[in-house]
């Protein structure tokens, strides 16, 4: 081999390991890991630590696989949006076919391994989640309806249900309460983002609510969903997953969240532009804490239960 052929084999933009890892959407994965972990521990069945670790790992891997498949499918709009332009495929570091191969391989691996590590119900639910996120949300409805975020929210809400199933192997009401919490939380979270990243979705032609129904309607939707979310979150305090710690936490956080949604609803575009969407940005940041705090409280209630302290006794 000559020097010339060696040099021609070098591509300056060749992907590093981190670029392949970025395909798995690690930030989304943290939400998946945390909510699945809470679902697993909130279940009334003790799980061996090694089995629990494997369950969370393979649920996270399944979430990562669906992230890679989403990036493969959405590469065209990712290259248009400022927020997603630097992702591995639009930046030219990873090819679309590589992302597809990684996504499919990790999907098969994660579902198979979760089934073997825990039970077929959990494996089937993980497979359904990947299918829902990639086919129903990404391929079918994301570019079709302004309610795309609501549907995407459902896809992101499955991990606590899978965690619960991994522990118990049977369905119950409690994991679906956790599902509902993530499901109702997603629209206000993303619509707040859409308010201050507006040109992104316009440019990409994604029918985001801000584009199809206007920004006033989006502000109203944020308020309505936040009210419904607050009712749900506070109501959950009186179920099997709640308790006094959860209730106290939820009251405080929901009051803050409702105040933020009200402020967003009251503002007009001029006021928002004047302070560069400070209220919308603050609401978005608070929304990140919202879910973490609620699931953290559910986790604390579950951990205290064996000592007779968690829940309503």
């Amino acid at each position: 081999m000559s020097d010339v052929s060696i040099n021609s084999a070098i591509r300056e933009d060749e992907a590093s390991f981190g670029d392949f890892f970025a395909l798995l959407k690690p930030r989304v994965m943290t939400l998946v890991v945390f909510t699945a972990f809470v679902g697993l521990l909130a279940a009334p069945v003790p799980v061996h630590p090694m089995v629990g670790f494997c369950a969370i790992l393979f649920i996270a891997l399944g979430g990562g696989a669906s992230g890679a498949l989403n990036m493969w499918w959405d590469a065209d709009i990712d290259s248009v949006m400022k927020r997603t332009r630097k992702r591995p495929i639009p930046s030219g570091k990873v090819t679309g076919s590589d992302a597809l191969a990684i996504g499919l391989a990790l999907s098969a691996l994660s579902v198979t391994m979760l089934t073997l590590a825990t039970n077929p119900m959990a494996g089937a639910m993980l497979a359904f989640t990947i299918f829902f996120y990639v086919v129903v949300y990404s391929m079918w409805l994301k570019r079709l309806t302004p309610q795309n975020i609501v549907i995407g929210g459902a896809a992101g809400a499955f991990p606590p249900v899978i965690g619960w199933l991994a522990a118990t192997g049977t369905m119950a009401v409690e994991p679906w309460l956790m599902f509902a919490l993530v499901f109702m939380w997603t629209p206000p979270h993303f619509w707040a983002l859409a308010l201050f990243m507006r040109s992104d979705y316009d440019d990409a032609g994604v029918p985001m609510l801000t584009v199809t129904h206007g920004r006033r309607a989006t502000r109203q939707h944020i308020l309505v969903y936040t009210v419904l979310l607050s009712v749900l979150a506070l109501g959950a305090a009186f179920t099997a997953i709640g308790g006094p710690i959860y209730l106290a936490t939820s009251v405080v956080v929901n009051l803050m969240f409702l105040r933020g949604a009200l402020r967003i609803w009251r503002r007009d575009e001029d006021a928002s532009e004047a302070d560069n969407f400070a209220v919308e940005r603050a609401f978005f940041r608070l929304s990140l804490w919202y879910l973490f705090v609620h699931f953290g409280a559910i986790l604390i209630e579950a951990l205290l239960r064996p000592y007779g302290l968690g829940g309503w006794g």
């Binding site: 060696i6 591509r11 300056e12 060749e14 590093s16 390991f17």
Partner: protein
């Protein structure tokens, strides 16, 4: 003259190979650990005749 200088690309490739290697080793360790736990707990024990009748 042979090429000795390590290009930044070579480091990136090494990092990628190392990452894949470590991921594979981790996978083997996980499967082994899981198998040990499952066998120790008796997950793979066949159902005995008396249990089957219960």
């Amino acid at each position: 003259m042979s090429i000795r200088t390590t290009h930044e690309i070579h480091q990136r490739r090494f990092g990628r190979n190392l990452g894949v290697g470590l991921a594979l080793v981790a996978f083997v360790v996980i499967v082994f650990g899981l198998t040990v736990v499952k066998v120790t707990r008796g997950d793979f024990e066949p159902v005995t005749a008396s249990e089957g009748q219960n």
